[in-house]
């Protein structure tokens, strides 16, 4: 109880999440254990021993470079051309471009900045309402944590000790379904509108755009293809992706210099260091809760009080949604994952499916006022108020809620591909 109170007090007064976990663990060790405090740095050191963790800084580095470089612009051009024949095509192009760029950057915020920076002003100039332009890109940016390769998914796999390949596959169908339903909503909305958005491209133009964007499109194929063909492990795939992005930005697109690449790498490594230190500190907490048999006790308490699987899924969804409004998914999953793991077994919930539930509810939290992170990114970019951006996002949030409930209660949607391809 003291540890839990300490945790929440520190969290509320704004102490960084990693140090909240570390201080609570130190308090816990001093009360419940007689072991020497050298266990703290020892566990912090051992907590970073998983080789797959190295994929996170590599993906963040590639994402930062892609966001600064020319990949986003080329993807937007290609998607606008692809959907140019239908009403609302440019807005739908934004959704699909966000999904593709999310696969490169693995980050919601980077996706909104890179794609939104190009597309939002263009859509408004074309005559689309500000609400539709801002709402669609802000919502679609959140797909970044669901579409592989996502850094959050790697963290989930480290916390739950599951396969990165299976978790990535599980994100595919939900990600594609969500993007399709959002696109359908945009099409229905724009069908009766007066925006002149149907453009004919000559074959020369088409060829030029395809040629320009081919290298950007190859990125997710290289990463995921190398993992699923067994050519490389997730960390190796991340390294290949990084080298690929560096080469195309410096030598092919000729947009970035080596100095800029090093600067972006530094930013990415500082940001990944500040995130991964959470895992390091959580290793101390995990050691404490395991030695005190807390996960087993929590599991017993939950199974005594919650008898229905549906209720349990709703409770974990609610926990992730409410906590996701205040905390990063990575911190949440690192803390809650190992604690809830024994209970998942009792309710026969696949750990991979649990990962998708956690991601979907956190994705909703990113779009829910007043704390949704994505809302603040768009507010800053477009100079709009929280109420204006929240109103713009609302229809997309309702669709996301319906899809989240569907994905939570129909595990086959997320587990179909992993069960089919990686038994």
């Amino acid at each position: 109880m003291i540890v839990v109170s300490c945790f929440f007090v520190l969290l509320i007064i704004g102490v960084p999440v990693s140090i909240v976990i570390l201080l609570s663990s130190i308090v816990g060790i001093s009360i419940y254990s007689n072991i020497a405090f050298t266990i703290v740095p020892q566990q912090m050191f051992n907590g970073l021993g998983n080789f797959v963790l190295l994929a996170i800084p590599l993906f963040i580095m590639s994402g930062n470079i892609a966001a600064k470089g020319d990949i986003a612009r080329r993807l937007v051009n290609l998607m606008r051309m692809t959907f140019s024949g239908i009403k609302g095509g440019s807005v739908i192009a934004g959704i699909v471009a966000c999904s593709f760029f999310a696969a490169i950057s693995g980050s919601s915020m980077a996706t909104i900045v890179a794609i939104g920076g190009i597309l939002m002003p263009a859509l408004i100039n074309m005559g689309y309402s500000r609400e539709l332009a801002e709402g669609s890109v802000t919502a679609a940016g959140s797909i970044g944590i669901l579409i592989p390769p996502s850094c959050s998914m790697i963290m989930i796999c480290v916390a739950m000790n599951t396969s990165v390949g299976r978790q990535y596959l599980a994100g595919f169908i939900p990600g594609i379904l969500l993007a399709s339903v959002w696109s359908l909503y945009i099409y229905i909305l724009c069908r009766k509108g007066n925006v002149q958005d149907v453009k004919e491209y000559s074959s020369e133009e088409k060829k030029k755009i395809w040629k320009e964007s081919l290298l950007a499109l190859l990125y997710p194929i290289i990463v995921l293809g190398s993992i699923y063909t067994g050519f490389a492990t997730p960390t190796e795939a991340a390294a290949i992706a990084f080298v690929y992005v560096v080469i195309i930005e410096i030598f092919v697109f000729k947009i970035m210099s080596l100095g800029q690449i090093i600067e972006e790498c530094k930013k990415a490594l500082v940001s990944s260091g500040s995130i991964i230190i959470i895992i390091s500190c959580a290793a101390v907490l995990n050691w404490l809760v395991t030695t005190q048999q807390i996960p087993a006790n929590i599991s017993m308490w939950i199974t005594n009080h919650v008898t229905s699987k549906i209720l349990f899924i709703l409770i974990i969804g609610l926990i992730f949604f409410v906590s996701g409004c205040f905390m990063d998914l990575i911190a949440l999953i690192i803390i809650l994952g190992p604690i809830l793991q024994p209970t998942l077994g009792v309710f026969e919930i696949d750990a991979i499916h649990f990962g998708i539930i956690a991601i979907m509810y956190t994705q909703m939290a990113y779009l829910t006022p007043p704390f949704g992170l994505n809302l603040y990114v768009t507010m800053g970019m477009q100079n709009r108020s929280l109420i204006q951006v929240s109103r713009a996002v609302m229809p997309f949030l309702v669709i996301l809620l319906i899809m989240t409930i569907a994905f939570s209660f129909i595990p086959e949607i997320s587990l179909f591909l992993p069960n089919l391809l990686m038994r």
Binding site: F45, I262, E263, I277
Partner: protein
Amino acid sequence: MKIIPKNIIKKIDFVEKYILVIPMLFFAFGVVIDVIFRKLFHFNLSFLQEFGKYLMVYITFIGASIGVKIKAHPNMSAVIDVMPDKFKIIFVFISNLLCALAMGFTGYWSWMQFSLYKRMGTVTTTLENIPVYLLYLVVPVSLTVMSIRFFMRCYTDTREISKTIRVGVTYK
């Protein structure tokens, strides 16, 4: 902080940037070469796995240490953000002080752990018998630097908030 000359801070920033980025670039390109060698010549660079393990520790602790300086550590700022500045100043000070103490104590315990590794004399297996204590050194050093940086932020953050109170704008 005015007590440290600006050109020294610039030099430290420059060194920090390169000691953080260069090993990671080496690793990324090394891994790609390793994959190519493995597929084409059935030969692999066995030291990369162990190098990667220590690199993870290295970039995490150095990255986190720089992260203190630029306030990159994720926190739940929702409550603090809505507080009036005169209360915010107290909580920001307490928060930084607690972080400095937590890092200071953990740093001290990690120096003890460092001496233990040194006494044990363990060496790496694939990285040319490098003593483990040398690779572990980044942990106590970074934790100590983080502690110092949090102590410095007790002063700088408080000064920034007091300045915003004087000017009459809200601190963010």
